[in-house]
């Protein structure tokens, strides 16, 4: 039975780095290549030695696919391609290709410059890695080679995130990456057609969560911002400049408009302008509503949000500032933070995960006295808030996706085994498919039952359907014919037609076997003995004694001759066609046992 093998190298049963190896019909594909954000040593990279102990990765892997730009899905890519060594194609969507290198470089800067690590990829490596990237469009079938094709589907979650279908012949696997089934302000919901893959690999991080409604989170966020601004404080929101930032901008803009607020909102320049630029370029990736309004008014051009100038940070009075980078580890956001940290009227809202070692991480852990450059101690009196708007599918969303795609099997990654038992049962009960949850390094084998379409000749079809019961859509019917494989087509024809097409003549195969029998009598007496013996034993068969002295058993011929050298031995010639092989062998072994004495 053909099989699909899946081995998670990361994100089997822990959240951190996603990296999954899939073997399908002889092709090997790596899905995502993420970095574990919680570790500082080699544990942050997936264990690539699982793939192949010796031998080059380029030879073994047919391609690498990256689902989206989050570091836990692409963070280890430059390490993998430049330091471990891989020169094959890397596939990702256009937005991902544009945004990945920026985040990777950012991350590299923090790790090497701030934390002083040495075993890390360089800027040049990031550049070299991106040269190997082939960008794909949504719903575009990409031929990786003659047999392997991939197709990207919209996944929501972040700009450019995609779910990928990997297909070889009629076996296919769909990998979801991180996805989201509910649309938000700037991204639509994930969508896939009824592609019926043999296997659906889905993330299940939030499967056990019942999420607080978005309205509540947004309301609480706006309340906090409003309260701070009302009392004259300043709000700092460090962002990655790509992703949630746009969502929050839209949220604030709408709120400011509705409440007729006057406090200024600023968006720091530089990288962020580039980000908005990217968004405008990739407008097709955002949701319908934005696309419609883009025609009348550019949703990413804001009425109340202005470009930031460094000097503004010293202006008195309330304001809200979006600044990069997101973890407060360097640059403008850190500068502003240092200026505002001492005032308790101010607030900083951290919008997402912060890597260990960054100021963002420290203040979120509760530290209120930070050591800055030059051994200066910064006392943090401003309010520190954390808010997560990340969009992942919950249990309901996962069920929805399975319902859309109709896979034959489901594999869950990204959660803890114990906590996925309930979801596994839920999926198995509702959809009657098998659900797997491998751990890191554990290989799951899924048996597939591929359907191979074959053209059948009309003549053969007519002949075969004439025999036996009438064709029934529910019962598979067994037909016999000759399979002709030419180029990429399969045809089923009758044997005669096959011979004709191939220019071959039908051959008849005849076997002859000699059995020696001890019998001093005359030949015709021996024949009689044999005849009587066979007639007695083979009661269900037609045994005949012909006038010319030969015996027939069905269509098998037996003749007796005397041995040339030994008069006491008779040679029985048993002859049968290929079609009578079974009976022929049986007869031969029967005669070899000798004749009974009585006759």
């Amino acid at each position: 039975m053909p099989e699909i093998k899946v081995t998670p190298l990361g994100a089997g049963q822990d959240v951190g780095r996603s990296c999954i190896l899939v073997s399908i019909a002889g092709k090997n594909v790596m899905l995502d290549c993420g970095m574990h954000m919680g570790y500082n040593d080699d544990r942050r990279f997936p264990d690539f030695s699982y793939i192949t102990q010796n031998g080059r990765l380029t030879d073994f892997l047919d391609c690498v696919i990256i689902s989206h730009f989050h570091l836990d899905h692409c963070g280890a890519l430059p390490y993998f391609s430049e330091m471990v060594g891989y020169d094959g194609p890397i596939y990702m969507t256009h937005p991902t290709k544009a945004i990945c290198p920026i985040l990777l470089e950012d991350y590299r800067k923090i790790t090497v410059d701030k934390k002083g690590e040495t075993n890390f990829f360089t800027s040049q490596m990031i550049k070299d890695c991106m040269k190997k990237v082939v960008a794909v469009h949504l719903h575009q079938t990409v031929q990786v080679d003659e047999e392997l094709e991939i197709k990207a589907y919209y996944a929501g979650h972040v700009l450019g995130a995609a779910m990928f279908q990997i297909k070889v012949g009629c076996e296919s696997v769909v990998y979801t990456g991180d996805y989201n089934m509910t649309p938000d302000r700037h991204l639509g919901a994930a969508w896939i057609d009824k592609c019926r893959p043999d296997l659906l690999i889905s993330e299940s991080t939030y499967a056990t969560t019942i999420r607080d409604s978005k309205r509540c989170r947004e309301r609480d966020f706006l309340k906090k911002v409003h309260e701070t601004v009302e009392r004259g404080g300043k709000v700092l929101i460090p962002v990655f400049a790509l992703g949630r930032a746009q969502e929050l901008c839209i949220l604030l803009e709408t709120f400011w408009e509705r409440m007729n607020l006057k406090a200024p909102i600023y968006f720091s320049t530089g990288l962020t302008e580039k980000a908005n630029h990217y968004y405008k370029l990739f407008i097709t990736w955002t949701n319908q509503k934005i696309r419609k309004t883009f025609v009348q008014r550019n949703m990413f051009e804001f009425k109340h949000i202005k470009a930031f100038d460094r000097a503004f940070a010293d202006n008195p009075g309330p304001m809200v500032v979006f600044a990069t980078p997101g973890m407060l580890h360097a640059g403008q956001s850190l500068q502003i933070f240092r200026k505002w940290a001492g005032n308790e009227k101010n607030m900083v809202i951290m919008p997402g995960y912060c890597v260990q070692g960054t100021v963002g991480h420290k203040i979120l852990s509760g530290q209120r006295k930070l050591e800055m450059e030059g051994r200066q101690i910064l006392e943090v009196k401003m309010q520190v808030e954390y808010m997560s708007f990340s969009a992942h599918a919950d249990a309901k969303g996962i069920m929805q996706l399975i319902r859309q795609a109709e896979p034959r099997n489901v594999l869950l990654v990204h959660g803890e085994a114990k906590k996925m038992e309930f979801l596994k049962q839920k999926i198995e009960q509702e959809f009657h498919v098998s659900c797997y949850m491998p751990a890191n390094g554990e290989t799951t084998t899924i048996l597939t039952n591929p359907c191979i379409p074959v053209d059948i000749s009309l003549g053969l079809l007519k002949r075969e359907t004439a025999i036996g019961p009438l064709p029934d859509a529910k019962k598979p019917k067994l037909m016999h014919g000759t399979l002709l494989m030419k180029d990429n087509s399969f045809r089923l024809v009758s044997p005669e037609q096959a011979l004709k097409e191939l220019g071959l003549a039908e051959h008849q195969l005849r076997f002859t076997c000699r059995v020696h029998i001890q019998d001093p009598r005359k030949e015709h007496e021996t024949v009689l003995r044999v005849y009587n013996h066979l007639k007695g034993v083979l009661k269900d068969y037609s045994v005949q004694h012909l006038p010319d002295g030969s015996i027939t058993v069905e269509s098998i011929l037996i003749q007796a001759t005397a041995h040339s050298e030994d008069q006491g031995t008779k040679v029985l010639l048993v002859s049968w066609t290929y079609q009578d092989e079974e009976l022929g062998s049986y007869l031969t072994s029967l005669l070899k046992k000798g004749l009974p004495q009585s006759t």
């Binding site: 019942i210 999420r211 509540c216 989170r217 808030e385 114990k418 309930f422």
Partner: protein, 362 residues
């Protein structure tokens, strides 16, 4: 409001039960099989006394779940054990389940407590206690009330028959005293040690216009005599009466709640006392709102009372316009935070809200 969180369950629930470790349990009541029983861990914001603003963990987590073939109308945890008992149509039997959150996240079905099924029997109401042994008090009608030991499924007590009215609720007042409430509004007391006698406590209040009644008992502070806590009864027309079980001849107080008197049925009628606020109770089941009342100002006149707070959230939730407006199916008070309630509605929404008394009525 001081705080409001809205969540959406995959399927609506008509029960919210508290479990050990601040867990909350909900369950589906759909007609088809495949109803889920979910034990949830509330987000940390709801467990602490102070309200936090933008906490990272704001979601309920499903700690474990089970699959029930029948709709789950009632669920009670059996104290001091890892078992829970559910009941639901089509008959009055009970299902016993095992929760073992550390080993796996599946709530396993263990056994059925069968009951004699007469005709016209609906689902059983249940109450649990573990004073002498883990017991479940159950019954769907006044003449079919029994106590069964949960693990051995042995019958320990059968109440004397006092009529065949349908029950709307039952409770253990202490390890020996039972309180039964009929849908007609009649309350009966029974003593486990005297199976032959069934004491009628309070008869049906006046003007029974085919109203349906339900009751709410208060688990008072430690040390207080349970029967000193007044019992509240709510009718499907909005009438509320409070009764002291020691002086059952007259009601303590009564009032009329300001609810639509369309009598949309007594399916989800719910009345409950606040565990930490003296004299406060909440009602729901008439529409998409939950009312909170302060009963300390009530007298026996039965006039209309003004609620001190109305939670309207469920009426505004979800996809606007399509189908019937959501009906609040159940509500419950938070055990530690005095002004926090949880409520669920027929559209699958689950709200957790912390109300603030409007100024002027402190």
């Amino acid at each position: 409001y001081r705080d409001l969180h809205t969540f959406e369950l995959q399927a609506p629930t008509r029960l919210i039960e508290w479990a050990r470790g601040s867990r909350v349990c909900v369950a589906g009541y759909g007609q088809s099989d495949g109803n889920e029983i979910l034990q949830l861990i509330p987000p940390p914001t709801l467990l602490t006394k102070e309200t936090q603003g933008l906490c990272p963990e704001r979601d309920f987590k499903v700690e474990c779940g089970g699959f029930s073939k029948r709709p789950v109308y009632s669920l009670k945890y059996v104290p001091d054990t890892s078992l829970l008992v559910t009941s639901g149509p089509p008959d009055s039997s009970l299902q016993v389940w095992q929760v073992s959150a550390e080993d796996s996240d599946v709530i396993k079905f263990v056994s059925t407590i069968a009951t004699e099924n007469g005709t016209g029997q609906s689902w059983a109401k249940i109450a649990t206690i573990s004073a002498r042994a883990p017991w479940v008090l159950h019954g769907s009608r006044l003449d079919r009330v029994e106590i069964t030991e949960v693990e051995s499924r042995k019958n320990v007590y059968t109440a004397a028959s006092g009529g065949s009215e349908e029950l709307s609720g039952l409770a253990f007042l202490d390890c020996n005293t039972l309180l039964l409430c009929c849908a007609t509004g009649r309350l009966c007391l029974a003593d486990v040690r005297q199976p032959q006698s069934l004491m009628e406590a309070v008869s049906v209040p006046s003007a029974s216009r085919s109203e349906q009644w339900c009751m709410g008992t208060r688990h008072g502070a430690q040390g207080l005599e349970p029967s000193s806590q007044p019992v509240a009864r709510l009718s499907s027309w909005g009438l509320l009466t409070l009764t002291d079980l020691r002086k059952t001849s007259e009601s303590l107080a009564s009032a009329k709640a300001r609810v639509p008197s369309s009598g949309s049925g007594a399916e989800f009628l719910c009345v409950s006392w606040a565990p930490a606020l003296e004299g406060c109770l909440a009602i729901s089941g008439f529409d998409g709102t939950v009312h909170v009342y302060d009963t300390q100002s009530w007298d026996s006149s039965g006039k209309e009372a003004e609620p001190i707070f109305v939670h309207k959230g469920h009426a505004f939730g979800g996809a606007g316009g399509s189908g019937d407006p959501p009906l609040v199916t159940v509500h419950t008070w938070h055990l530690q935070k005095p002004k926090t309630l949880l409520s669920a509605a027929s559209d699958g929404s689950l709200h957790v809200w912390d109300w603030v008394q409007p100024c002027g009525k402190c």
